[in-house]
């Protein structure tokens, strides 16, 4: 991971000083605040997205039973939620022109709330540990 981080830093220097045709041209930086914030939000959303995708199936399997049909059913909300969320928010972006900040805030809040819900489920499972079987 340290090597990866150093390579990322080296990549930044290479883009700025090393080449004529950078992958990330500076022409993109015309609204630097929006670009930087959007990339930051994408970064954090990516981390939450990958962690949910990787952790929820093993959690559904290990904590809530090995029944294949049950595990599949427990994985449905994640996929359907991502699909529906993407379609609905993109539609809303066209309807509410100019309110992209509010849409992004609502989406981030829902993401955090979703995480809290999963956390609550984990806590309740922990407390009722004896009733799991």
């Amino acid at each position: 991971m340290i090597i990866g981080f150093l390579l990322l830093v080296a990549f930044c220097f290479w883009e700025i000083y090393g080449t004529d045709y950078p992958i990330f041209p500076s022409r993109l930086k015309q609204e630097p605040r929006i670009l930087a914030l959007t990339l930051l939000i994408t970064f954090i959303s990516g981390s939450n997205f990958f962690s949910v995708i990787m952790f929820w199936p093993t959690q559904a399997f290990n904590v809530y039973g090995h029944d294949p049909v049950g595990v599949g059913v427990r994985g449905l909300p994640i996929g359907l939620g991502i699909l529906a969320g993407a379609c609905i928010v993109l539609w809303l972006l066209s309807v509410f022109r100019g309110y992209n900040r509010e849409l992004m805030i609502v989406s981030s809040v829902m993401m955090t709330a979703g995480k809290r819900s999963i956390l609550l489920i984990s806590l309740i499972t922990m407390i009722d540990g004896s009733r799991l079987s």
């Binding site: 959303s45 981390s47 955090t112 499972t125 922990m126 540990g129």
Partner: protein, 192 residues
């Protein structure tokens, strides 16, 4: 109206802010959606100030950039969360599964280690091969439930960390600017 003399249709703002009208239908729609148009009225004066033309040829670059940033975020985030999870699970497995097996009277560290290994690999149907548990239904159930509770307690910390990340994300989202000036149905490339 903000019609630029440069000949580009980029700067044309003679359109209604609602979705369905391409002509200047402001008065008719104003009656229907007053809040939307109060904002339009307040901001229309400074909205026609594109001093630069955003690059049209870099659409694919930007799409790929957001995808790659998402994957990098996924890699970094997953590493962090996984390390949190594994460190907590090691402790909880020893306490809960080890504790349960001590209750059952199994003192051998190798057997406890084997039970923890089977639980972490989700091979619960091999638990009866451990001598102390064997075919004893109650013992099997106790160890299984202990494993599940150990998992649940460890996942809890993963979600705490991710809530912290989500909070940072929400705060960052509050400072985003307005991109309405760029959303004018302009087609950059016709792909047929």
């Amino acid at each position: 109206m903000g019609h630029s003399r440069l000949g580009s249709t980029w700067y044309r703002r003679d359109r209604c802010p609602c979705l369905y009208h391409n002509n200047y239908h402001l008065p008719r729609c104003k009656a229907l959606i007053p809040y939307l148009f109060s904002r339009y009225a307040l901001t229309s004066s400074h909205r026609n100030t594109n001093h630069f033309k955003p690059p049209q040829d870099l659409i694919a670059t930007v799409a790929a950039l957001t995808l790659s940033i998402r994957v990098i975020g996924g890699a970094v985030g997953y590493t962090v969360y996984y390390n949190v999870f594994v460190s907590k699970f090691e402790e909880n497995a020893k306490t809960l599964i080890g504790g349960t097996m001590l209750q059952l009277g199994i003192q051998d560290k190798l057997l406890i280690g084997k039970a923890i290994h089977l639980t972490s690999a989700a091979l619960l149907d091999q638990l009866p091969t451990i001598p102390g548990i064997g075919n004893n239904e109650t013992a099997l159930e106790m160890v299984t439930v202990a494993g599940r509770v150990a998992y649940a307690e460890s996942y809890k910390y993963v979600y705490y960390v991710s809530i912290a990340f989500g909070g940072v994300c929400t705060i960052a989202a509050c400072f985003l600017g307005n991109i309405n000036q760029y959303m004018d149905d302009h087609v950059a490339v016709v792909v047929h």
